[in-house]
């Protein structure tokens, strides 16, 4: 199956008009690596991910598998935060087949592959339903199947489990871990949940508060899978990441005028 591609970010800067959101980001991601992006809300995690996806023009350079990124491409699958991106006029099966269909893959082969990927995310019973008939967690799984069927070498995920309840999230995290192992693709995963990052990532990248956000620290997580969140190593890493992010969140809030110490007591 698909094998991961490397991702190289060299002096990447991203601006909207005159506002520079991300500045001078350098990051090399190895093929098959699982990298989590953490950072305060609004710092530019989604923006950076969208840039790798090819949705945004950037300063500096972004390469995937050695090729310069200039536009969206099949090598980079994108799982969005909201499952709204499923096409509501197509059934789950048709949604999953979409990528193959527009590339003219024959019907029989399409059906076979769709069957496989729909089964892989546990939606066989719901294949002929429309997205609106599914729960949030099921839709998110459908979205993941729709991306993986194209066998991208890089999967970009923007808080894909953010809107789900804790139980569903846990199940999907385990599923994702399994799928990642199976496909060997490279994953860049945005989250604001430190535990989620600890559970999944090979490396956690913490971003600084914006504007002109950059990389604050890069924390390797050298723990065997499946990981035990209650282990002392995990707790130690959690503490370290929490302190790093805490600092940045505080800075971000101060910039937005939410300084707690200065708040008048009521």
């Amino acid at each position: 199956m698909s094998n991961g591609a490397s991702i190289e970010l060299g002096h990447v800067g991203i601006s909207f008009g005159t506002a520079q959101i991300v500045s001078n980001v350098n990051l090399d991601i190895k093929p098959g690596e699982f990298v989590c992006l953490l950072g305060p809300s609004g710092c530019g995690k989604s923006t950076l991910l969208n840039a790798i996806a090819g949705f945004l023009p950037v300063a500096g350079s972004i390469s995937v598998g050695g090729d310069r990124v200039t536009k969206p491409g099949l090598d980079r699958g994108v799982v969005f935060q909201s499952a709204e991106v499923l096409f509501p006029w197509l059934t789950i099966r048709e949604n999953v087949e979409y990528g193959l269909k527009i590339r003219g893959v024959a019907k029989a082969e399409r059906a076979k592959k769709a069957e496989h990927f729909i089964g892989m995310v546990g939606l066989a019973h719901a294949a002929d339903k429309f997205p609106k008939e599914l729960s949030g967690g099921m839709r998110q799984r459908a979205q993941i199947a729709r991306v993986l069927i194209n066998e991208p070498s890089v999967v970009l995920m923007d808080e894909p489990f953010g809107a789900l309840d804790a139980q569903t999230r846990e199940v999907l995290q385990e599923e994702l871990d399994r799928l990642w192992r199976k496909t060997g693709c490279t994953i860049v995963f945005v989250t604001h949940d430190i535990w989620e990052a600890l559970l999944l990532a090979d490396r956690v990248v913490v971003m600084t508060a914006g504007p002109r956000a950059g990389i604050k620290t890069i924390q390797p997580i050298d723990l065997p899978h499946p990981r035990d969140a209650a282990s002392p190593e995990c707790l130690e890493l959690f503490r370290r990441l929490r302190d790093d992010i805490g600092e940045e969140v505080k800075r971000a809030l101060e910039q937005q005028g939410l300084n707690r110490e200065e708040e008048p007591a009521t």
């Binding site: 996806a53 099949l74 709204e84 096409f87 006029w89 197509l90 979409y98 527009i102 590339r103 729709r146």
Partner: protein, 268 residues
């Protein structure tokens, strides 16, 4: 009355209401019509037939016009003009709207004209249409086409502009080209808007056909209403108005049934 009440069970079941609920809805509707006709009857008893013909005399006239076939000729003429002009308007308006919504250059080229013409009702063009196209069928159809194409185009543009940007990005990252994007994401997203536009246009086509027929036609409901004046036959006017109302209702019903049957999955 009995006819209407006999229909209720099937209709109630089809629309998903309980039998009682469906029956109640129809009964209230029928009651409203009966009260209206009664009021009309009382009004007619106290005025001259030239001012307000009674429901009974209108019914009799309707019977005569059905018997000699003239009513169906009139209805057929109007229905054909509406159907042809409206269908042509939808067929041209949808792609036009898609292109204008999608390509800014097309949009910029068309915008001043659209902004200008949108305030000019088709009736204003009746004289011109007759001069340019003659007194034939094509004139009436062209006017209905004009009023339809506008509404459908403007609504389709709104639909294109309303397309969910994330869905477009998703399609692109799955390998969609500009053309594929148009046919597989933008078009389906805009379908509900096109349908709304086509439905409003249907209503406007009825307005247009009557004015066009009043000015330049020997057949059709508009012409029938207008010639009634020369013969002092107010009852013909009533037959024409009632036929228009029923025809419009049937067209709208058929349109809604067709869209529900063929475009159901797009009406999310």
């Amino acid at each position: 009355m009995t006819d209407a009440t006999q229909q209720t069970p099937t209709r109630g079941a089809r629309t998903g209401f309980s039998m009682g609920e469906g029956m109640k809805r129809v009964l209230i509707g029928v009651l409203s019509v009966v009260i209206g006709v009664l009021a009309w009857h009382i009004g007619a008893m106290n005025t001259s037939p030239l001012f307000l013909p009674s429901p009974w005399s209108v019914a009799k006239t309707t019977g005569e016009m059905i018997a000699d076939g003239s009513l169906f000729v009139a209805i057929g003429a109007s229905a054909w003009r509406i159907a042809a002009g409206w269908a042509a308007g939808v067929i041209i308006g949808v792609p036009l709207g898609l292109f204008m919504g999608r390509f800014q250059i097309v949009r910029l080229l068309c915008d001043p004209w659209i902004e200008f013409f949108r305030f000019i009702p088709p009736i204003a063009f009746v004289t011109l249409a007759v001069i340019w196209l003659g007194p034939g069928e094509i004139t009436k159809i062209a006017l209905i086409f004009y009023c339809t194409v506008f509404i459908v185009t403007i609504n389709t543009i709104a639909g294109v502009e309303n397309v969910n940007q994330l869905r477009l990005q998703a399609a692109r990252s799955m390998g969609a080209s500009k053309l594929t994007e148009m046919t597989t994401v933008i078009f389906p997203s805009a379908v509900p808007f096109m349908i709304t536009g086509a439905r409003i246009a249907m209503g406007n086509s009825f307005l247009t056909v009557v004015s066009a027929e009043i000015v330049s036609a020997q057949t059709g409901l508009g012409s029938m209403i207008w010639t009634a004046r020369n013969f002092g036959r107010t009852d013909w006017v009533f037959v024409g108005i009632i036929s228009l109302g029923i025809l419009g209702y049937l067209f709208d019903r058929a349109f809604r049934m067709a869209t529900r049957k063929w475009f159901r999955r797009f009406l999310f």
